[in-house]
Symmetry: C2
Subunit: 495 residues, 2 copies
C-alpha cells in the first residue's frame, strides 16, 4: 500500500509539474535585465553558484532543483517590485531563508526566481522598554541570540539549527525542544511586515502583546511556508533572562520506561525541555564532535529546567529525580543524577543532542516530524520498534518527549558497534515507502499530526490529506488563491 502511495504521488507530481510549467514563462533576457535593475546587480545566474540555492537539508539530493536566477534583494521595496514583475510576467518566485528546512519547502520546483533574504539580516531594534525586537527576515538565529544575550534578555524558542533565518522560522512555526515550557515561535511573533504575492507591502500586528482586531492574518501567515507572502520584518516578544538554567541527563535501561516517566513530570513541574534519546545515535555524534556524552545507558531523558535561582532549579530536579526513580530510571538514588552544571558541560550535551541529525545524515533517507498527544509517545515509539523489526530497517528515534514531537529517522544503513554501516541495506528503496506509510498510519491512529515543526514543503505533501480532511484543504487552497491569484509565490508546496 505504501509503495502505491509513493508511485501515485510521483506520477501526480509529474503531471502537476507539466500543467503548472506551461502556466509559467521562462526568465528571458528582458526579465533578467529588469531583475538586475531592481536588485542593483545582486543577482546570480551561474548554474554552478546557483547549486547552493537548489535545495535544503532534506537528505535526498534528487529533489533539489536549480532555479533560473537567484536575486538577493536588500529592501522590502525591492521585493515588492520583484513580485509585481513576477505577476506581470507569470514567473514563479520562491523565497529562501537559511536553507535549513527538512522537507523541501524552499525548492524552486518550477524554476523561476529564488528570492534569497540573506542580505536582509539586520537586527533593527532591541527595544528593552517594550521587551520587543524588530529584525529583518534574513537574520539567523545565531546572530539574534547574540544580540538578545547582550541586552540581558531572552528569546525562548530554540529550534535545533541556529543557521535558520527568521523568515523561515516564522513560515514553519518553528519551535524545538524548549516548547514544553515556552511554546513555539508563534507565541513570540507579535508583528510582521509582509510583501503579499502581488507586491503590496503590509504590516500586521505590532509591538503590542494582545490583539483581537479582525482575522489574525499574522497567525495565518505564521506556518504558511512562504506561500502567502514574503516575510520581510518580524517583531519578536522577549522575556527577562532566567537567572539559572541546568540540564539533567537521566539514564534508562529501556526507552519505553524513559518515555513513560514524562506524563508524571509534566503533571508536577514545567521543565523547559524534556528530550528522549536512544543510545544508538550517541556514539556517531560523539565521534563527529569529538565530545563525550556523560553517561552510558540504553536510553536517556535530557531535561532542561530554568528558574529564578539555582535553588529553585535544583529543587525542581529533586522532584523530577524522585519521579524518574519511581519509573525505573537506571540510577540507585537521586544523588547519582548527572547534572550538566557548568556552562561547558551544558554546551557539550546540548551540542551532542543538536548534532545527532548531522552525525547520521549520510545514512538517512528521511527524518519524520510526527507529533502525537504527549502521553501517546510511548505507544508510538513501540510501534516504530515493531515496524523496524518487521522490515529490518534501523529507525532511530529522538525528539521532544515533553511535547509529543518525535523525530523518527528512516535509515538506509544499519549501525554496528556505534558506527554507521558502510553498506546500504538491501531493498531499502522498496521498503522506504512502506515503512513511511506504516509510521504515518501509526501517528494517525494515536491522534497525531504529520508535522509538528518542520512543515509540509514538498516532501510531506502526500501525507497532509491523510491527516486533514478535504474540506479544510479546499479552504487552504481558496486562501492561497485569494492571496496569490497568479500562483507565483512558492507554487507546488503544502497541498
Amino acid at each position: 500500500m505504501g509503495s502505491m502511495f509513493l508511485l501515485e504521488e510521483k506520477e501526480r507530481n509529474t503531471v502537476k509539474q507539466c500543467c503548472f510549467a506551461s502556466m509559467y514563462k521562462r526568465v528571458d533576457g528582458q526579465v533578467m535585465k529588469r531583475l538586475e535593475e531592481i536588485v542593483e546587480g545582486r543577482i546570480i545566474c551561474d548554474p554552478e553558484r546557483m547549486r547552493d540555492y537548489a535545495g535544503d537539508e532534506f537528505a535526498d539530493p534528487s529533489i533539489r532543483k536549480i532555479p533560473e536566477v537567484v536575486v538577493q534583494p536588500k529592501s522590502t521595496e525591492e521585493i515588492s517590485q520583484i513580485l509585481k514583475l513576477a505577476n506581470l510576467e507569470k514567473i514563479p518566485v520562491t523565497p529562501r531563508g537559511g536553507g535549513t528546512g527538512l522537507c523541501g519547502g524552499c525548492i524552486p520546483l518550477y524554476g523561476g526566481v529564488v528570492l534569497s533574504l540573506e542580505e536582509m539580516n539586520s537586527v533593527l531594534e532591541i527595544d528593552k522598554e517594550n521587551m520587543m525586537a524588530v529584525v529583518e527576515a534574513g537574520l539567523t538565529l545565531t546572530d539574534f541570540y547574540g544580540k538578545v544575550e547582550e541586552a540581558q534578555l531572552f528569546f525562548p524558542p530554540h529550534p535545533g539549527e541556529e543557521g535558520a533565518q527568521f523568515g523561515g522560522l516564522v513560515n514553519t512555526n518553528a519551535s524545538g525542544a524548549r516548547a514544553v515550557k515556552y511554546g513555539g515561535i508563534r507565541n513570540y511573533i507579535k508583528g510582521l511586515e509582509v510583501v503579499l504575492p502581488q507586491g503590496e507591502i503590509v504590516t500586521t500586528g505590532g509591538k503590542y502583546m494582545k490583539q483581537s482586531s479582525g482575522y489574525s492574518l499574522l497567525n495565518l501567515i505564521i506556518g504558511s511556508e512562504g506561500t502567502l507572502g514574503v516575510v520581510t520584518k518580524v517583531v519578536i516578544n522577549l522575556l527577562p533572562k532566567p537567572q539559572a538554567m541546568y540540564t539533567l541527563i537521566v539514564p534508562y535501561d529501556s526507552l519505553d520506561r524513559a518515555i513513560e516517566t514524562v506524563p508524571e513530570i509534566r503533571n508536577k513541574v514545567i521543565p523547559m525541555a524534556v528530550e528522549f534519546i536512544e543510545h544508538d545515535v550517541i556514539p556517531p555524534t560523539e565521534e563527529l564532535l569529538g565530545k563525550n556524552w556523560p553517561i552510558k545507558a540504553k536510553a536517556y531523558l535530557m531535561i532542561i529546567v530554568d528558574g529564578a535561582s539555582d535553588e529553585e532549579v535544583f529543587s525542581v530536579f529533586e522532584t523530577i529525580g524522585d519521579i524518574c526513580l519511581k519509573h525505573g530510571a537506571a540510577i540507585k538514588s537521586v544523588d547519582e543524577l548527572s547534572i550538566a552544571d557548568t556552562p561547558k558541560r551544558q554546551r557539550d550535551v546540548l551540542e551532542i543532542r543538536s548534532n545527532i541529525y548531522s552525525a547520521i545524515k549520510k545514512g538517512l533517507i528521511e527524518i519524520l516530524d510526527i507529533t502525537v498527544p504527549p502521553a501517546k509517545i510511548a505507544q508510538y515509539v513501540s510501534r516504530v520498534h515493531e515496524i523496524s523489526e518487521k522490515h529490518s530497517m534501523w529507525l532511530p528515534n529522538y525528539g521532544h518527549a515533553g511535547d509529543g514531537n518525535v523525530h523518527t529517522h528512516i535509515m538506509k544503513v544499519g549501525i554496528t558497534d556505534g558506527k554507521l554501516d558502510e553498506i546500504e541495506i538491501e531493498g531499502w528503496k522498496d521498503k522506504y515507502p512502506v515503512v513511511r506509510a506504516e509510521l504515518h498510519e501509526a501517528a494517525k491512529r494515536f491522534g497525531g499530526m504529520v508535522s509538528g515543526e518542520h512543515g509540509i514543503g514538498l516532501v510531506k505533501m502526500e501525507y497532509l490529506p491523510k491527516f486533514i480532511d478535504s474540506i479544510q484543504i479546499k479552504l487552504m487552497k481558496g486562501i492561497k488563491r485569494l492571496f496569490d491569484p497568479n500562483n507565483v509565490l512558492n507554487p507546488g508546496k503544502i497541498f
Copy 2:
C-alpha cells in the same frame, strides 16, 4: 471630526442593513417548524423571552436587537443541520455564548436565528496524562475552573467575566490580566471542532502541542468572532498548578508614576499580572460589593506573582518592591507593601478589580479596549487625562499595565466623593464621538491597536479601517466569502 465619523458610520450602517436585509428571508412558519424538529423543541419565539438574547454587556441598550427565533441545539449535528437550512433559506444565524461580550458581537443585526450554545456545556474530558481538556463550547469559565481545580491542574487565562463561554472566549481570543506571563487564550487552544457556515463539521488541531501542517485554520478561527464557523468543541492545554500565588498592591501618588514602574519590572521578572487602577473607581466598587480595598492612594499597581513556593514568590516581590520604591511608590520601605496573603484577601482584591466595570456601568457610555506597546501606556494615559480635561468628561482608566491593554471608560456622568453623579453631564451625546475619535487617534499615534481582547463586533467596526489597511481588510472579506459564500453566519460584524 469625530462626530463626522459617527454620522457617516450610522448612515453607512443603515444603508448596509437595508441592502443585506433584502438578501435575507424572514423565518416563516415552515422554517420555524423545520428548526423545531432539528432542535427537538428547544426553541424560543416569545419576544419577551427573546429579550435575553438580544444583546451583550455593551452599555448602550439601543444597539440590541430581538431575533426572530432562538434555538438551543444540544449537538454538533443539530448545528450542522441548522446551518444547512439557513443556507438553503438565506436566513442569518448568529451564534451566542455567555453574552458577556462588550462590543455587540452576538447581536442578531439582521434578525434571523440566534444559535445559543448554552445547552452544550459539558466538560467532555480532563485528560491528565496529556494535560488537555476537551470541552463543549457552551461551557462557562466558572464551571471550567472548578473542574480544572479538582484535577489539580491550571488553566492560566483569566478574562474578568467568568460567565463567558468557551465559544466566545475562542472567538474573541480573550485573555485578561494573566496574559503578562501566560499569554492569551490562543496559546492554550490546541484543537477545535467547528461547524463551517455551510454546515460541514471539521476538526482542526488535536491533543498535540505543536503543529506545522498546512495553514493554521485553528488560529484563523480564533478571534474570528463567530463569522467563520460555529465552534462546538475546544481542546485546551493545561499546566500543573502553581504551588504559590500572591497578590501585591502598591500605592502611588500619581498614576503616571505607577505606570512608569512597569517596564523595569518586566525587564527583571515575569509576574502573572500587572494591573493599574486609578483610585476613583475603587469606592463605587467597594460599595457595590461591600468589601474593602486594603489601602488608599491616588493610584495602584496590582501585581500577581505565582511560583513553585512561597519563598520564590516573596523573593520576586522583594525585587518588585525595590523597583517600585525607586520609581516613587507611596511607601517608605518594602516592608510596608500590602500583600494579599490569605486566599480570602486575595479573592477580595481580585473581586474588586473584576467588578469595577459593573460598579460604574450605569454611568458608562463605552469601555474601550485599546492596546499599545507596553512602555507607551504612560503616554497614552496622559493623553487620556488631557482629553478628559479638555472635554470635561470623566474618563477613568484601568487595565493591564503589564501588557499594554488599557480599558479607558467614556462616562456620561462624573464622580463626587466616591459616588457616581446622578445627573448626566451636559452635551455628552455630542462629546462622545469626538472624545472617542481623539482616544483612538492617540492609540494609533502610539503604535497601538483598536482591540486587545474584546474584539470588533458591531461597536468598533468604524475604527478597524483606521488601524488596519484596506488591503488586509479586503483579504479578511475574501476569507469570509470563502468560508461563508451566502453570508449567513453572524453577518454585519467586524468589517
